[in-house]
């Protein structure tokens, strides 16, 4: 208020001769007016505080306005009324200001807080609002992921066993990427040839870019037709408002379209693109929307000044995956050679393995035919041959049999348990080992029995009969009926003949008289026959020459004389070709007379050499 006082002073101090106005009067009127507005002023300038006339004048002049003002003041000062008043016009004010760019930023923080608190209070509202928008997007995204997985799986399966597949497997191993990734890299050959950005509302072309070598019809016509087809599909089927035709395929050309709020991006792709390309296209579309939302919304067919959008779309057109350049350097000899060597090695190995198997099978079937061998288990494992079973100790040795085949014995693991077999062959072997038959006896299997044939001593025969009786039940019979006792037959006849002979001597003579030569010759012949026969029968014989004397003369002399006579005969027989080892000598003196010496004739009979044949088993 100090300013007002200063203005008043300044008015009073002004020169009174400037004009014809009564300054003092005017000043006091103004002062009064001022005081009526601000009563505190009256003290400073000495004017009565209130002039009732002035008040009256004011009521007369501004009565209506004062009433309005006071009502307004009431409204403004009462928060409830003021709020009600603003509320009545708020929507109108905002609607009017919506063209003003400053409104958005001003309201944003408050709206943000309001939204947050609303969501905190009841998230359901937001979910209900977003559900119809988000669910199709999620479904689409999951669908693409599944498609991508199948695509990857398909390609992986298709190429997993080919020569190329092996090469890619090697590449995957080398680069540390997954095999599927490498397969996709090589098989998904594609090129984005055209990209159309189409205004959704009018179907008009906003921007079109094409790869250098790509050709197409008038892009404006194409884009409108695409929009028309999208409309057609949307109208004709399903009727889902926010979704359109995602993909179209014609031979190796594919049309992939992504819908934005104001524009649709359609990419024309030649080849086999990965599903992930959808995402790339979508990213470009949303970037364009984010940067030029207003332009897209209000697009009216004027494409000038959209160079930046064109640049964004050029990124899409640059997307491609080229086929790997196959360098044609003729036939890959090195690869073929390596493959050949590998194949040959594999072939040799396979052949050997097959041949081994054949040999083994042959060996096993041979083993099975052998008596005393029972095979319970046969196997091949890690290049080793396994065989297990039962084996009679008298059966053929499986290892010896193995030598006949081409199998390395070191590769064979055999596990045999011992048992006693009852096969006739085994029983034969067992009897042979046990009885050790003489050469004159043959043992053989005939008609399921063990049959012995030939000649044997009574002792051996007794042993053999005992062994036959001890064979277990179920064993083949041991037939000894074909074995004759050596004592029956020519041997005994011959020995009887020899034993009936004697060589006679003259009195006191150690040598036989010449008249005995014929007898000696006869005996020598018979002894040789005996030796031959015994040998053929496998029996041992021994012929004892016993010298005798008569009882005349001294006893000791007679004993020496009788021994000398036996020695002399042995020498004479030896001279006649008889094996001296066959002959044994002894002197009996006069102790074993043939006749009682009652006469010279009887004494002459007792002076002799007699023969005793002994037959026994060969040692």
């Amino acid at each position: 208020m100090s300013t007002s006082t200063a203005t008043l002073d300044w008015l009073l101090r002004l020169c009174p001769s400037d004009s014809g106005i009564d300054r003092k009067n005017l000043a006091s009127l103004l002062a009064e007016l001022a005081c009526s507005v601000e009563p505190g002023l009256s003290k400073g300038i000495g004017i009565p505080s209130r002039d009732p006339r002035l008040e009256e004048l004011r009521t007369l002049l501004f009565g209506g306005e004062i009433e309005v003002l006071s009502r307004l003041r009431e409204v403004v000062e009462n928060p409830e009324e003021f709020a009600a008043a603003v509320g009545r016009v708020l929507h109108g004010a905002i609607a009017n200001a919506s063209g003003d760019e400053r409104l958005g930023p001003v309201l944003a923080p408050a709206l943000e807080r309001a939204t947050q608190s609303s969501i905190r209070k009841d998230p359901g509202t937001l979910i209900n609002v977003l559900y119809p928008l988000i669910v199709p997007a999620i479904r689409k995204s999951i669908g693409e992921t599944v498609d991508e997985t199948f695509q990857s799986l398909n390609e992986t399966l298709k190429h997993s066993l080919s020569w190329r597949g092996l090469r890619w497997r090697w590449e995957a191993w080398r680069t540390g990427r997954s095999f599927a990734e490498v397969v996709l890299k090589h098989t998904l050959v594609y090129q984005v040839e055209h990209v159309f950005l189409i205004h959704r509302h009018t179907g008009l072309l906003i921007v079109h870019v094409a790869a250098k070598e790509a050709t197409s019809q008038d892009p404006q016509l194409v884009s409108s037709m695409l929009a028309a087809i999208q409309d057609f599909v949307r109208d004709s089927f399903a009727g889902v408002r926010h979704q359109g035709l995602d993909t179209m395929q014609l031979g190796e050309l594919r049309l992939w379209s992504e819908q934005g709020p104001f524009a649709t991006l359609v990419a024309v792709i030649r080849g086999n693109p990965p599903e992930t390309l959808h995402e790339t296209l979508r990213a470009v579309l949303s970037r364009v929307h984010a940067e030029r939302s207003r332009t897209l919304e209000s697009f009216n067919g004027d494409s000038s000044g959209l160079g930046d959008i064109e640049a964004q779309l050029m990124e899409c057109v640059a997307l491609r995956q080229r086929a790997q350049l196959t360098t044609r350097r003729g036939f890959p000899w090195l690869v073929a050679l390596i493959a050949g060597v590998v194949l040959l090695a594999a072939g040799v190995w396979g052949l050997r393995s097959w041949e081994d198997g054949r040999q083994w099978d042959r060996y096993i079937s041979l083993l099975r035919t052998k008596p005393g061998i029972v095979i319970t288990e046969v196997a091949r494992h890690d290049g080793k041959f396994l065989v297990a079973g039962l084996r009679d100790p008298l059966a053929v040795d499986p290892r010896a049999l193995l030598l006949g085949s081409k199998i390395d014995p070191k590769r064979v693991i055999a596990n045999w348990a011992s048992y006693q077999g009852l096969d006739p062959e085994l029983v034969l072997e067992r009897l042979r080992a046990q009885l050790q038959p003489p050469a004159s006896v043959t043992l053989a299997v005939a008609g399921g029995r063990v049959v012995a044939q030939g000649t044997a001593t009574p002792t051996w025969l007794a042993r053999a009969r005992g062994a036959g009786r001890l064979l277990p039940i179920g064993a083949p019979a041991f037939d000894l009926s074909g074995v004759r006792d050596v004592n029956d037959g020519p041997l005994s006849k011959l020995s009887d003949a020899i034993e009936s002979r004697s060589i006679h001597f003259d009195y006191d003579e150690p040598l036989p008289p010449s008249g005995q030569s014929a007898t000696l010759d006869q005996v020598a012949k018979e002894l040789n026959e005996l030796a031959t026969l015994a040998s053929s029968l496998g029996v041992r014989t021994r012929v004892t020459l016993t010298g005798h004397s008569d009882s005349t003369g001294r006893g000791t002399f007679n004993l020496s004389l009788s021994l000398a006579r036996a020695e002399a005969v042995r020498a004479l027989l030896k001279k006649r070709g008889v094996d001296p080892d066959l002959l044994a000598v002894r002197g009996a003196g006069p102790l074993e007379p043939l006749e009682v010496e009652a006469s010279d004739a009887a004494r002459s009979v007792n002076r002799r050499v007699s023969f005793t044949v002994g037959i026994g088993e060969q040692p």
Binding site: H199, H201, T202, G203, L204, L205, Q217, D218, Q220, L221, V222, S224, M225, A228, I229, D231, F232, R234, D235, N300, G301, D302, S303, S304
Partner: protein, 167 residues
């Protein structure tokens, strides 16, 4: 550099009013007529050279049918204007054009259009005389007598429309 702008224009008309013949002779076309029977629309283009700019009229030729209910109205979305075609020798086609116009205005509001009275070269077969056309003009309509055979009125009609939709 002269600006090039595009505008979406729909071609509407009853059955066999000669719409397709107009399109065949006077506009650029890459799609076959079979689109009309399959998708129900065929896109063609008419480029008009105006003094200050070049206008590409992208023409959505909607399948002409006598049953107005079967018209796919969604194809009209975003149109800047439209061309109504009627056969001057058949009164019913004018009625059809009038009801088509009503239908369009009801759904999309008023927008520039031109009414082509086609087959105007067949003067002796006229079912609608000049006076009647004059009446329509008095209502503020842009009406032109046209002939796909002689080319009468066709170029002018497209040029008029190009000017009006780029104003």
């Amino acid at each position: 550099m002269i600006d090039t702008v595009q505008r979406k224009i729909c071609m509407l008309g009853g059955f066999s009013v000669g719409k397709t013949s107009l399109v065949k002779r006077y506009v650029e076309s890459i799609f076959s007529d079979s689109y009309l029977t399959t998708v129900g629309v065929k896109i063609d283009k008419k480029v008009e050279q105006l003094p200050d700019r070049v206008v590409s009229l992208v023409l959505w030729d909607l399948a002409g049918e006598d049953d107005i209910g079967s018209l796919r109205m969604s194809y009209l979305r975003g149109s800047a204007g439209y061309v109504l075609v009627a056969d001057r020798t058949r009164r019913s086609t004018l009625q059809m054009a009038l009801s088509l116009r009503e239908r369009v205005e009801a759904d999309y509001g008023p927008m520039p259009f031109v009414l082509l009275m086609n087959k105007s070269d067949l003067k002796e077969q006229w079912a609608i005389d000049d006076a009647e056309l004059e009446d329509l003009r008095h209502r503020g309509w842009w009406v032109r007598a046209s002939s796909a055979r002689t080319g009468e009125g066709v170029e002018d009609a497209f040029k008029d429309l190009a000017v009006r939709v780029t104003r």
